[in-house]
Amino acid sequence: MANDHHHHDHDHSELSDTQLRVRALETVLTEKGYVDPAALDLLIETYEKKVGPRNGARVVARAWANPAYRARLLKDATPAIGELGYAGRQGEHIVAVENTPTLHNMVVCTLCSCYPWPVLGLPPVWYKSAPYRSRAVADPRGVLKDFGVTLPASTKIRVWDSTSEIRYLVVPMRPAGTDGWTEERLADLVTRDSMIGTGLPKSPKDLA
């Protein structure tokens, strides 16, 4: 009863156990005809190579450059994002929330790992980790500090806990010194973290 299992020195062998187990399961499911290996490869390729935060960056850049689009995005984000061809799994109902000089938005999923896949791809490990999930709702400024982000003490911070199938996308503030920039150029300023709310977009001099 009183065994001290789970020291952290066998992480490596645990991983290889998992590796073997995943392989075994995949073989069983393929042999039974439940899955088609080509479909698996396509799924992996889609999320590894095609769907990622570049999609969201284009949405944000367009909202910065085009006031009518921005209004549509903030009113009903799902069709507005669909205009750029982004839609589907884990993005069936998207809400865009806008940062202002007095309001900063942050997105978390305390209960699991809900994240707007079509615009941001799959979430990074930290987004799914216990430290982020436990602290973002109770101490958002402390979490921002972990990211090296300090906001003015008077800024309101609004945390969105994704408890339903609604997925949130933060529209960060457009950096100064970007007047007249094209959407394509603006998109280079939009980081993944700025669309989750744990970071700010790059400034023009970061690109130089």
Binding site: M1, A2, N3, D4, H5, H6, A130
Partner: protein, 219 residues
């Protein structure tokens, strides 16, 4: 802190498993771990609340995966490091390398026997009269301190009734951070199970906790 120790009302840990003819200690080292914690207490290297705070600060994945006395040994290591009783190199080597900075004074077997017999009472003279009386309705405050507290999360925000005035006792929230004993009135407060767990829960259940006066507000 809302750490892994605050387990009241959590699901998922499974059934309570009893061991037939369970021995007091399951291995020699468990008895040693137990005794080491007693003697370091007698030596007043730190206070019990500080020890509890350190124990509950252990990251939840580690906390829930350590055996009971494994948790004690781990906490003792951390306390020895924090209070300068041993260096990381000494813990690693398993022996003393540098002498302790204060003059050592070994705790004797006789002192241990005294400690077992007398314990260490926690009641203190009262600085002021008690605010609440038996029968008063009180609400446990919604508080989430980052340091040690003995107010479990599952009662916070809920209304109960004072059923006993225990006395004026050392306040763990202060003592654990070495901010002094700061004694406060201590009450036993009874909550209806449905108040804690909702209308759907068992109507025959009552839960009592001990709550220091700063945990409570009048209703």
């Amino acid at each position: 802190m809302n750490g892994a120790a605050d387990m009241g009302g959590m699901d998922g840990f499974g059934p309570v498993v009893q061991e037939r003819n369970e021995p007091v200690f399951h291995a020699g080292w468990e008895g040693v771990s137990f005794a080491l914690n007693m003697v370091t207490g007698v030596a007043r290297l730190w206070n019990l609340d500080a020890f509890r705070f350190k124990r509950e600060s252990i990251p939840p994945p580690e906390y829930v995966n350590l055996s009971y006395y494994g948790l004690w040994t781990r906490t003792l290591e951390l306390m020895m490091l924090e209070y300068g009783v041993a260096t990381p190199a000494e813990i690693e080597a398993g022996r003393a390398i540098a002498p302790f900075k204060k003059a050592p004074r070994a705790v004797t077997a006789a002192e241990c026997a005294d400690m077992v017999r007398c314990g260490s009472p926690y009641n203190r003279p009262a600085p002021s009269p008690a605010l609440f009386k038996v029968g008063d309705k009180v609400r446990a405050k919604n508080m989430h301190p980052k340091a040690h507290t003995r107010l479990p999360r599952y009662v916070r925000g809920h209304v109960g009734e004072v059923v006993r005035i225990v006395g004026c006792h050392v306040f763990p929230d202060s003592n654990a951070s070495n901010l002094g004993e700061d004694p406060h009135w201590l009450y036993t407060v009874r909550f209806d199970g449905r108040e804690l767990w909702g209308e759907q829960s068992d109507p025959t259940v009552r839960v009592c906790i001990e709550a220091w006066e700063p945990y409570l507000e009048p209703v």
